[in-house]
């Protein structure tokens, strides 16, 4: 019989965490920015159909970096959780805090109990009536949860991108300015200075979707043409 080597719990957790971190850093970044018009979610993503950003519920959106199959299963689980909750209670009883805490528990359980941890990092964003009522939650692979103010940057060279976004962020930005800021952040770790519209995925949570679009569903995905038009506005 072969003798199993003793590995201390500290070492085991550290190895798992390093493994997950490496996987996440290999991908490209996602930026979530809370601003005057609502919340803008911008991801560097060359695929027009394999989304990193998704709608969860009326006021709640999801953004992720890492392995597609892992975060896609989490996104679908989130949609199911929100729809069941909204159907059995009421639509306004679905909150980002509740969803984020379910995500934290599942990520934590996978991190400790499964063969390998999920190589993902998630953001759950909820748009409120005013920028002060916006909620941004960051969830990491081990189930840690953080309540962020203003903006979240995840994945890739997150430090560099975060520095660039942080320098330009103000609460009174409109969507065009926020998306430009995110774009500028996404190229902070690259040689080039601009990204083509086809290389980014952009969605927004409108703050006043009831009055502006007549729907309580605040999530809106922007087409390439919309992005080009929005970015050209100021120039």
């Amino acid at each position: 019989m072969t003798q199993q080597f003793y590995v201390s719990p500290e070492q085991l957790m550290k190895d798992r965490a390093d493994f997950a971190r490496k996987g996440i850093a290999r991908g490209r970044s996602v930026v979530v920015i809370s601003c005057r018009d609502g919340i803008a979610l911008v991801a560097e993503n060359p695929s027009p159909s394999l989304h990193k950003i998704g709608e969860i519920y009326d006021k709640i959106a999801f953004a992720a970096v890492g392995k597609y199959n892992e975060f896609e299963s989490l996104r679908q689980a989130g949609v199911r959780y929100a729809d069941v909750r909204g159907y059995s209670y009421d639509r306004e009883d679905v909150t980002a805090r509740g969803l984020a805490s379910v995500y934290a528990q599942s990520l934590g359980a996978v991190f400790t109990a499964e063969q390998k941890p999920f190589e993902v990092e998630l953001a759950v964003a909820e748009v409120g009536a005013s920028p002060e009522e916006d909620h941004l939650y960051r969830l990491t692979f081990d189930g840690s949860i953080a309540d962020e103010k203003g903006f979240i940057v995840m994945g890739g060279q997150a430090d560099k991108v975060s520095e660039s976004v942080g320098a330009g962020w103000r609460g009174e930005l409109d969507f065009a300015a926020a998306i430009r800021l995110a774009q500028a952040g996404l190229v902070a770790d690259k040689e080039t200075t601009t990204l083509p519209a086809s290389a980014v995925e952009v969605a927004v949570l409108d703050r006043g979707s009831e009055s502006s679009r007549g729907t309580r569903r605040a999530f809106r995905r922007l087409e390439d043409a919309d992005i080009v038009a929005l970015l050209a506005e100021e120039d």
Binding site: S49, H51, G54, E55, I56, Q76, V79, R80, D83, V84, G86, Y87, S88, T215, R217
Partner: protein, 280 residues
Amino acid sequence: MQETTANQVAASATSSFTEHLQRERPGLLPFGLRSAEHLPAAALTANAAVPLQVPHGTTIVALSYAGGVLMAGDRRATMGNVIASRHIEKVFPADQYSVLGIAGTAGIALDITRLFQVELEHYEKIEGTLLSLEGKANRLGAMIRGNLPMAMQGLAVVPLFAGFDRPAGVGRLFSYDVTGGRYEEQEHHTVGSGSVFARGALKKLWRPNLTEEEAVAVAVEALYDAADDDSATGGPDPIRRLWPVVYTVSRSGAFRVPDRELAAVAGRIIESRAIAQREA
């Protein structure tokens, strides 16, 4: 053969909210195979002579016009000879491009409507694309079929479904029977207790290529005629300022006709009938 993980994952992948509930939370469904057991024994043994006293929704009319379809419903629910509600709304947007109206047992019908709305939104969020109009119509049929055990005990729900088929560029109408049978209707259709009278009115009032305004007036007048002869259908109520619920569906989406416009339309109908001084 042993069930592989891949098989399990594929089998549990569903874009349907109803299927998800059936697996995980069957108690939340308004219907289901086990719902008959949940009914008290008295209801099970009751025969048609003693119907269960619950509110029933009445007349829904739907018609096509140039560029879309329209659906309208009166505001009354009845329980035997009693008016259970004067304010009930029985026409709802199902999603951005379709609406449904419901006649029959109000409680179950409202829950099926809510389930259907979540079903369509759930599919859209999971798949990232809208369900086709035929797909939506089939899903609704499956839900009505699921309610068959309840319908056998007198708690039937009969919907009417209308939507805009975007690839084809036309508005389409679907009717159902209690077994979930789905029938595509041409021009116009009605369901509910006052439907015979409303359909008679529509046969005389409807013509091809109505404008949207004309179509709204035709629908309100058909409901007026239904209310005239069917005691379970409510007419326009100028005292309480209650008007029918009317939705139009066209290429630009489903919109509710504002009360202000309906008040004017209903006012004109009442006025013209009063001036004519005839037995309707």
